[in-house]
């Protein structure tokens, strides 16, 4: 790694910071196409969809899929992480566009949408495959600070009560989003709406 045959400068002039080592242009392109394809296929056919199908939709061979994601589960995990990240990013956007209380409410609904849509996730998480063991921790690690920021701002603005812990709220919303017992898809949204209103009650105290 220290001295390679023919390589004096090129991209390695400023690489010390991290072991970034940029992907080749085609590799990066295929990686993006794969994640996008996988997201679409999982959404329509579920997480059990064949890898071949994802590869085909992305316009690559299966070998390329396994170059980027050694196991099928790695691809699934990558997709979920990306969607969590999108949910986290939405917090900043909402905070910039709305008053604190409104931003909080809207983000909770956004979170419900994420949980509800990705019900295939539950199947993966409960499958017993240890490949997914790190996902819940990642969820917590990324989502909690995002919610915390929104929550703190809303409390500071006197729009919601204080004393509610972000973790509890995340868990409660996830639980409410869980069953969809009778096949009523609006149930979760309604219950969480109720919960959000509950937060406002007793504000400015």
């Amino acid at each position: 790694m220290v001295n390679r045959k023919t390589q004096k400068k090129g991209r390695d002039t400023q690489p010390r910071g991290r072991t970034v080592r940029h992907l080749r242009a085609d590799a990066q392109r295929n990686l993006d196409a794969l994640l996008q394809s996988a997201m679409a296929v999982f959404a329509t056919s579920g997480v059990h969809a064949p890898v071949r199908q994802i590869a085909e939709k992305a316009g690559v061979g299966v070998g390329t899929v396994y170059r980027h994601f050694p196991q099928r589960s790695d691809l699934i995990v990558a997709v979920f992480r990306r969607e969590v990240d999108a949910c986290v990013d939405a917090a900043a956007v909402l905070a910039a566009a709305h008053k604190p209380g409104e931003a909080l409410t809207r983000w909770l609904q956004r979170y419900v949408d994420f949980i509800s849509a990705k019900r295939g996730l539950a199947a993966a998480l409960h499958s017993g495959d240890p490949a997914y063991d790190t996902l819940p921790a990642y969820f917590q690690k990324r989502l909690r600070p995002a919610l915390e920021t929104l929550l703190d701002a809303a409390v500071a603005a006197g729009e919601v009560r204080s004393g509610v812990k972000p973790d509890d709220l995340l868990r409660a919303v996830a639980s409410l989003s869980a069953p969809a017992h009778d096949g009523d898809p609006t149930h979760a949204r309604r219950m969480v709406g109720l919960l959000a209103d509950g937060l406002r009650y007793g504000a400015k105290s």
Copy 2:
């Protein structure tokens, strides 16, 4: 079906009542062996265990498995139904051996054990496979009357409060048994114990 070649009476002398049509002795034996084998294999290797493995442990060929259970999911469903039945039967045993309140509490713990142990079930139920769609209804249909009997007896004896619906109790206990978040296996038992004590509070009113 009406007139078959050579069959004048034999077992068909008293078959009108139902379409029972007893299985041949070896078939019945293999069926029992299969269910027992499947229960054991699912418990140790999860519901994803190969059918071949179950067949081998039962000492039969895979063809025999598929003769009794046309689909792999049929075998899984049969095992779960059998375990639900065992849980239901336990209600009568407990009711005969203990005072009503005690019987109720013990049965709830028995129910927790069932739910917790069969966590593989969650994976199957959330897999999206419609083969499992009828299972929840079966659970409800069998478990509710069993719990109802215990509950009514306990209420009549003045040992627990009235006004608690069996369905709500079943659902609540199932929810409490669900996550096992941090890997604490006693959590569910403790919470349900609490719940059972709560039932006793305010009795004889």
